[in-house]
């Protein structure tokens, strides 16, 4: 069992020694059940930290903001950022290290193991508990989830309420860390791509109709892109402007930036946006499924990324985010890579 007090002690120690600028963790939010990210820079404030199955956010996302901040500051604080990560979050961190967006010294990793369980799915919870206000969610020693409401405690098998991705988890505890809390449990899902089956079993026409319906809902709020730790490009294909503009960028360069899609939230443009994003994440997505969680219209975009993750595994035997020294998928090749496209 991961002990919250141990977590607080680790965070407090590293803040007291002034080894880090601040620690990013989870705190109780002012509204609803789900927590909110918290940035702690005083050792006493570690009391705000929580740890339970609602700690869903991938806090690695905030490392890109940190990098931007350092670039802009005249005298940046060079100390690392303390980061609390789960297994999946740590894989995102590894991808950022592989791509050299950050260096190892930029982050002090406080790893927390999910210990055979994971995080809850808000929608599954809402279905099971409907209008009842949930006061607390925690794991018990037998890896069950215990939900406390006004009416008392309900125990259930974690699998009933866990996020889909946790049922297909490839990294139950962080793959990289400076300190690790919790057991190094092993969980090998029988079929790591099981959730794809319900869509893979549809005919081509059914799949096309499915995506037409789902992607018509999209309002292009870009929450999916904004929450993804791997979507950090200053010059994103999807934007009509390039953020990496300086005083020396000529008018021609700006005028010639290709407009790959229109701002209009119509089906054709929505398709292009989501598919380009999925392709740009191929071999990089580690299935934190934050993109799907944040979508206000409940579009199941996780399917797109998962499908490409499966392709990466089947074609190239590649799993993203395990080895920071391994070159990224699209930046390397092996002799045994399939060449059936070469005629």
């Amino acid at each position: 069992m991961v002990n919250l007090e141990d977590l607080k002690k680790e965070a407090s120690a590293v803040l007291k020694d002034e080894k880090v600028k601040y620690v990013i963790g989870y705190q109780k939010s002012s509204n609803g059940l789900m927590p909110a990210p918290v940035f702690i820079n005083k050792p006493e404030d570690v009391e705000k930290l929580i740890w339970n199955p609602t700690c869903i956010h991938n806090l690695t996302r905030f490392l890109t903001d940190e990098r931007q901040r350092k670039i802009k500051e005249k005298h940046p604080d060079e100390r690392p950022v303390g980061l609390i990560v789960k297994g999946c979050d740590s894989r995102a961190l590894v991808v950022l290290l592989q791509e050299k967006l950050i260096s190892r010294e930029d982050v002090y990793i406080i790893g927390v193991s999910c210990e055979n369980a994971g995080v809850v799915d808000e929608k599954k919870l809402a279905k099971k508990f409907k209008d009842k206000k949930i006061e607390r969610i925690e794991f018990d020693e037998k890896d069950n989830i215990v939900v406390t409401t006004k009416d008392g405690k309900t125990k259930m098998a974690a699998s009933e309420i866990l996020a889909e991705r946790c049922l297909e988890c490839k990294a139950n505890f962080p793959v990289i860390y400076d300190v690790l809390l919790g057991e190094k449990t092993k969980r090998q899902p029988e079929n790591p791509f099981q959730s794809l089956e319900k869509i893979e079993s549809l005919s081509e026409k059914e799949r096309w109709d499915f995506w037409k319906e789902q992607l018509s809902k999209c309002i292009r709020c870009y929450a999916c892109r904004s929450v993804c730790p791997m979507c950090y490009c200053d010059e994103c294909v999807v934007d009509t402007i390039n953020f990496a503009v300086t005083a020396d960028t000529t008018a021609e360069e700006k005028a010639q930036k290709i407009k790959w899609l229109e701002k209009s939230p119509v089906l054709s443009e929505n398709f292009v946006y989501h598919f380009i994003r999925a392709i740009h994440l191929a071999g990089r997505c580690i299935d934190c499924a934050e993109c799907e969680r944040v979508c206000p219209l409940d579009i199941p975009i996780r399917f797109l990324n998962k499908k490409l993750e499966k392709a990466a595994k089947e074609l190239f035997d590649y799993d993203a985010g395990f080895d920071p020294d391994h070159p990224s998928l699209v930046a390397s090749f092996r002799d045994e890579d399939p060449e059936d496209f070469i005629r």
Binding site: G32, P35, A36, P37, R220, A223, V227, V245, K263, E290
Partner: protein
Amino acid sequence: MEKVLAKKSFPQWVKILSSYKIFAPVEKENLWNYELIENPEKVNLDYLNTVLSPKKIIFPQREIYLEFSAENEDGLKVEEVLPDEKPSVIFGVRPCDAKSLTLTDKVFGGDFEDIYYWSRRKQMALVGLSCSTPPSPNCFCLTVDGSPFSKDGLDVIMTDLGDKYFIETLTKKGEQLVSTAKALFKTPTEKDKKDLLKIQQEAKKLIKRQVESIKKIPPKLKEMFDASLWDEESMSCIRCGICTYLCPTCHCFDINDEVDSHSPLKGKRIRTWDNCQFPDFTMHSSGHNPRPDKASRLRQRIMHKFQYFVERYKNYQCTGCGRCISQCPVGIDIIEVLDKVRDYGA
């Protein structure tokens, strides 16, 4: 006038109004959103609130302004494209969403009336559904001069009395909607009126969240442009567009040309929703950005809603629907931020 309508007669009312375009909340995979109703039998008001407010019907996310073409010898032709003007009714509008339309009216009216907005707005009738219980745990309409029974912006207001609706018409348009289906409506009994009163009194007590002393906030904000609060509160913002796109009072938009053919030139000029939380919203072509960071953009959102709009239009630009709080991916809570603004420096 005051009437009652049996719940089972409600679909008939909708059917009789078939000469109007009807919009109502529709459920798909557990989410409710306003849609054009093809089948009046299916209209159901048993819902909390929609993801997107009815603003999207009057101020759609995509609007065609004009079409341009240089197809023939005469050279470039530019033609205005106006929305079709069939009279419409939106059912199931929560009082907060109705009030928000009175606020967007101020923006799209005034000098240079926006013809696209008004050609829809003028022929739109709004039938509200009062909130016997708050649709969201984050509702705070009472704080921003609203109420679960507010009539602002509505033509008719309906209250759920269990097996029937209490109906109150508020405008001539509203009266017409009811008189068209006269036979379905009955006179309310004394008990009906008592039940209504009881629900109204209870409803206010059920709204749990509020911002105390909100009147202090607009003048306080005026002095807080350089406060460190904005940096602290925006640390976890991921600068998506959820808060502003879901907000019933937000109205920022973009205008772009979409080209269907380059030679001969043919295309459209399109208005789409835009978002002050996107990093490129205020960016000049030169690369200079007056709001280059999340702190300045969060400050803009709060200042615009609770100071600039108040100064210009004497109303908070917020109706307390709670959508931004419920849907923010990182739990940024506008009520919390306002509390901190009010108490800043104390």
